[in-house]
């Protein structure tokens, strides 16, 4: 906070708290809409709808802004060609061939994810390294500040996406 901002913001927190208490609820965006917002790909109208929800659920801001910062910097950790090729061979070895059916996907996903994780470990994917190493100063600073952090009750988002019981049900 700068000296310039101090007087203007005096009392603002209390005023915003009163305002928050009186805001009408708005529809919660799904993950795809939030992802599109993070990438600045929404129309003004859709973007306003997301921002309206975020203003009411600022705990979700950490996730959205962290993803936005990384996305804007082109730093989301995608695979490198050599490692992708290695993973494909591992995945091929993990499957017996044929087209998997949905009810068999658990085994397939486990094998595939194991291969992916091996690749990840080979590449040395680490969240901070993968995102911080290629970001601009402004966005890496922001991402660091936001910490890709646990902002609180992002379960609202998880619930909206039907993710609430992911671990147990699968």
């Amino acid at each position: 906070m700068t000296e310039q901002d101090g007087p203007e913001m005096a009392g603002g927190a209390a005023l915003w708290a009163r305002t928050r208490a009186g805001l009408a609820p708005v529809a919660e965006p799904d993950a795809l809409l939030l992802a599109a917002y993070a990438e600045n790909r929404l129309s003004e109208e859709d973007g306003a709808a997301v921002e309206s929800w975020l203003a009411r659920h600022p705990e979700a801001l950490d996730t959205v802004l962290a993803v936005r910062a990384a996305s804007a910097a082109g730093a989301l950790p995608l695979g490198r060609p050599a490692e992708i090729a290695a993973a494909r061979s591992l995945v091929s070895g993990a499957h017996g061939g044929g087209t998997p059916r949905p009810q068999l996907m658990r085994g397939i996903a486990w094998g595939s994810v194991a291969a992916g994780l091996l690749v990840a470990s080979l590449v040395g994917y680490e969240a901070g390294v993968a995102t911080g190493g290629h970001t601009s100063v402004a966005f890496s600073s922001l991402a660091s500040e936001m910490g890709f952090g646990i902002g609180g009750n992002d379960g609202l988002l998880a619930d909206a996406m039907g993710l609430g019981d992911a671990g147990e049900e699968l």
Binding site: M9, W16, E39, G74, T99, G116, G147
Partner: protein
């Protein structure tokens, strides 16, 4: 940066092996990075990441690929979408762990007591009193405790625009609540 807009949703939703091989190989890193970031922020052991990464991919398959089928490459890159899902699932995992950690009957009374609170004035705010952007800026400044420069960087606007919108928003709110500028 690799462009990752060629996700073959239709093939993935049919359980095509080759498509899944490529999909997992390509995005396991992004999913793992997102999960690890959440775990580390919470001071949790990174060993929990493996199960969570698996859960993310399994979630995409659940209910005949219901979640995966919702993906539209025209709207957002797969890595962005998957990162959001992965973070949300990791946060949800942490909440469940937190809840499960201490059984209610074993929690000290002070931990479950409801503190007396002042009555909260709840005056309905007209929907057009603040623009969504104004409300978001106030939330970022006062609830996330970001400074104007951080808000400006996050929203891709000028710092002066943040200050101007903040000033106008507070002016409207003070008028609405009948407050004098202190």
């Amino acid at each position: 940066m690799a462009r990752d807009t060629d996700l073959e949703v239709a093939l993935l939703c049919r359980g095509d092996k080759r498509a899944w091989d490529g999909f997992v190989a390509r995005y396991a890193g992004a999913v793992r990075a997102a999960v690890l970031a959440v775990l580390r922020q919470a001071g949790r052991d990174a060993s929990e990441a493996a199960d969570l990464v698996q859960d993310v991919f399994l979630r995409l398959c659940k209910d005949e690929f219901r979640l995966l089928a919702q993906y539209d490459p025209a709207r957002a890159a797969p890595a962005t979408w998957l990162t959001l899902i992965a973070r949300s699932m990791a946060l949800d995992h942490l909440r469940r762990k937190q809840v499960a950690r201490v059984p209610l009957e074993e929690a000290p009374e002070s931990a479950v007591a409801v503190a007396p609170t002042e009555p909260v004035e709840r005056l309905a705010i007209p929907p057009d009193l603040l623009s969504p952007r104004q409300a978001l800026i106030l939330a970022m400044l006062y609830e996330r405790e970001m400074d104007p420069a951080e808000v400006a960087a996050a929203l891709g606007i000028e710092v002066q625009t943040v200050r101007s919108m903040h000033h106008k928003a507070l002016t409207k709110l003070r008028a609405f609540f009948g407050e004098e500028r202190g």
